[in-house]
């Protein structure tokens, strides 16, 4: 049985439908990411789970109980806000102790628990600092400690790493992952960053325009996209519309507008249809000749350090090719092979 469930939850702000008929289920100890572009309704969904926003319809179920009308202070959830939202008039200790005080813990128990949680987030010794005396990364750790201290039933995180610089973000991402795993805490993690979602989650729910368009493991979301949105939003995808000519097992033959016919794998999550989309990610494209190949001209070369990225003009289709070493130059002609097991066909 799932620990937390949303059933057909809808929320409008005036004419804007922020969340539309969203249903999802999170199992105990599971980490679920809500992944989608800015404005797709992730935060609103999270706020509905927290009880900070009342849905227009639908229900929130926690341990089998309908908590849609329950105020946030009675839900026993923890939340980490995008801008940390630490209370500026309280020290680190008081920020972390707050939830425990609200639950009526005894003084010694509070001191012990705060110490424990601050150790977990590697902030021991910072107890008497004020939030303004901390770096962004440290503030985020305090926010996490504050949310975790009362051992909430569910941890809600809204883009917790988005205000940090790239390097710190990656570092914290790994640390966060090991903390969440070690605590086995049920987590709903909101992000627009697919790498973050992939690295952290057991399951990802991809949202678009207020709806959940696909839910699955990171591998399923990446390899078996359910529709053109997921296919193009996840990975560095190039999508070419075409028509599906024939299906042979898991492979399909698609004809592109320029008349070229290519073989590619049909996504398991998307039933084959005549109107189809060929999704080409860089890993599906390599230099070579023969079957399933295209004639290309190099239109741009970008040196990225650990690799080189080429923009190719291939019989009317734009492709990206990656190479560890510089092997082509702009204007040069080359043939590329499309790997039929890595190119994906989805219905549109």
């Amino acid at each position: 049985m799932s620990l937390l469930e949303l059933r057909r939850v809808t929320k409008r702000f005036g004419k804007v439908v922020a969340v539309s008929e969203v249903s999802l289920a999170v199992g105990k100890g599971e980490i679920l990411s809500l992944l989608g572009p800015s404005g797709c309704g992730k935060s609103t969904t999270l706020r509905i789970i927290a009880g900070l926003t009342k849905p227009d319809s639908g229900s929130v179920i926690h341990e089998g109980r309908d908590i849609t009308e329950l105020p946030p202070e009675k839900r026993n959830f923890g939340m980490v806000f995008q801008n940390y939202a630490l209370w500026p008039h309280m020290t680190v200790f008081d920020n972390v102790a707050f939830g425990l005080r609200m639950r009526g813990w005894a003084r010694q128990d509070i001191a012990r628990r705060v110490k424990e949680v601050l150790e977990l987030v590697k902030l021991s010794g910072m107890e008497s600092r004020y939030p303004t005396q901390l770096s962004g990364g440290q503030q985020q750790r305090v926010a996490l400690a504050r949310a975790l201290a009362p051992s909430p039933s569910v941890l809600l995180m809204d883009e917790p790493l988005s205000n940090l610089d790239a390097k710190l973000r990656e570092e914290l991402r790994h640390e966060l992952r090991s903390i969440l795993r070690s605590l086995r805490i049920t987590t709903i993690y909101v992000t627009h960053d697919q790498a973050e979602a992939m690295a952290l989650s057991d399951k990802i729910a991809v949202m678009n325009a207020g709806r959940i368009v696909q839910t699955g493991t990171p591998a399923e979301i990446y390899r078996e996209p359910a529709d053109p949105f997921v296919a193009t939003f996840i990975g560095e995808s190039i999508a070419v519309p075409g028509s599906l000519l024939s299906v042979n097992g898991s492979l399909g033959l698609i004809r592109l507008p320029n008349g070229v016919q290519l073989k590619a794998r049909i996504s398991k999550a998307s039933p084959p249809s005549k109107e189809a989309l060929l999704v080409l990610r860089p890993e599906a494209v390599s230099l070579g000749e023969g079957e399933n190949s295209l004639k290309c001209r190099v239109s741009r070369e970008t040196y990225m350090g650990e690799r080189v990225e080429y923009r190719l003009e291939c019989e009317g289709v734009e492709l990206k090719l990656r190479s560890l070493d510089p092997v082509l130059s702009v204007g040069e002609e080359a043939r590329v092979v499309i790997d039929p097991s890595r190119a994906i066909i989805v219905g549109r």
Binding site: P72, E73, K74, N76, F81, A85, W87, R146
Partner: protein, 270 residues
């Protein structure tokens, strides 16, 4: 150099219009037939000391009650659900702020009279004797009626500076409305509340119409009534000024705090 020249006119106006009359009043309060004297202060002590104490505690008590009510109104407007009742109250509560004190005093006379609205209501609840409200009770009720909305307005402006996120974080962490108020809103707007309190208290000390119309010359009464009495019936500016200086001292305790905070961080915190 040019900078100081430019502020000179402003400085001159302040000195001429504010400091000079104030200094003159203080001067007169210490001047007798033969130069410096404390006799006016002695009269204040002998005749009016009871009124000085009365003015202090009625003003202070009213400001405390008004602060509590103002905080509750502001908390409701900040934390309550957005519904028609809230928007109605949000409009309604400001009305007393714009009523002149003399109008409030007139209303209070009707409301608090021996056969006024309040006593009739109490009579209907079973009280046999009407309560005499034309003393400190009426004064406090009038002050609170006038000041609570004013304090609510200022305190609400402070509460609105507190970010939603800070309130929501507290809610998710398990804080009820009351705990949000006492743990987040009030500590984060301490100075705004203190300033609202100081302003209300100072304005109570300085009010003439309400004590004049409710209590008049009966004892004890407010310093302002004594000052008017001293001037109108005795032409005694010296004692009136001494009383004025005393009421200034009553206020200045809080005024000092007010000015210090104004200079230190502007009227509103972060």
């Amino acid at each position: 150099m040019l900078g100081s020249l430019l502020v000179l006119p402003a400085l001159l106006v302040i000195v001429l219009l504010y400091l000079y009359p104030f200094g003159l009043a203080v001067w007169i309060s210490f001047s007798g037939e033969d130069g410096f004297t404390l006799e006016h202060y002695q009269r204040v002590y002998e005749v009016y000391w009871e009124d000085v104490i009365f003015t202090f505690w009625t003003s202070f008590l009213s400001a405390v009650i008004a602060a509590v009510l103002g905080i509750l109104i502001a908390a409701y407007l900040r934390l309550g659900a957005d519904d028609p009742i809230k928007s109605f109250i949000n409009q309604l509560y400001r009305i007393p702020i714009f009523l002149p004190m003399v109008v409030v005093a007139q209303m209070m006379r009707g409301f608090l009279a021996p056969h006024g609205t309040l006593n009739m209501a109490l009579f209907n609840l079973g009280l046999s004797q009407p309560i005499e409200f034309f003393d400190w009770k009426g004064l406090v009720i009038g002050f609170v009626w006038k000041q609570a909305p004013f304090m609510a307005l200022i305190i609400l402006s402070g509460f609105l500076m507190v970010k939603d996120e800070h309130i929501e974080a507290a809610r998710v962490a398990g804080a009820s409305d009351l705990r949000v108020l006492t743990e987040i809103l009030l500590p984060m707007t301490r100075n705004t509340v203190a300033i609202a309190f100081a302003l209300a208290y100072a304005s109570n000390v300085a009010t003439f119409t309400l004590p004049y119309m409710l209590i008049g010359g009966a004892k004890p009464t407010a310093i302002t009534v004594d000052i008017a009495h001293r001037v109108t019936f005795f032409g005694d500016w010296a004692t009136a000024n001494a009383l004025g200086v005393v009421s200034f001292l009553l206020v200045s305790v809080f005024a000092v705090f007010y000015l210090r905070e104004m200079v230190r961080r502007g009227v509103y915190e972060r």
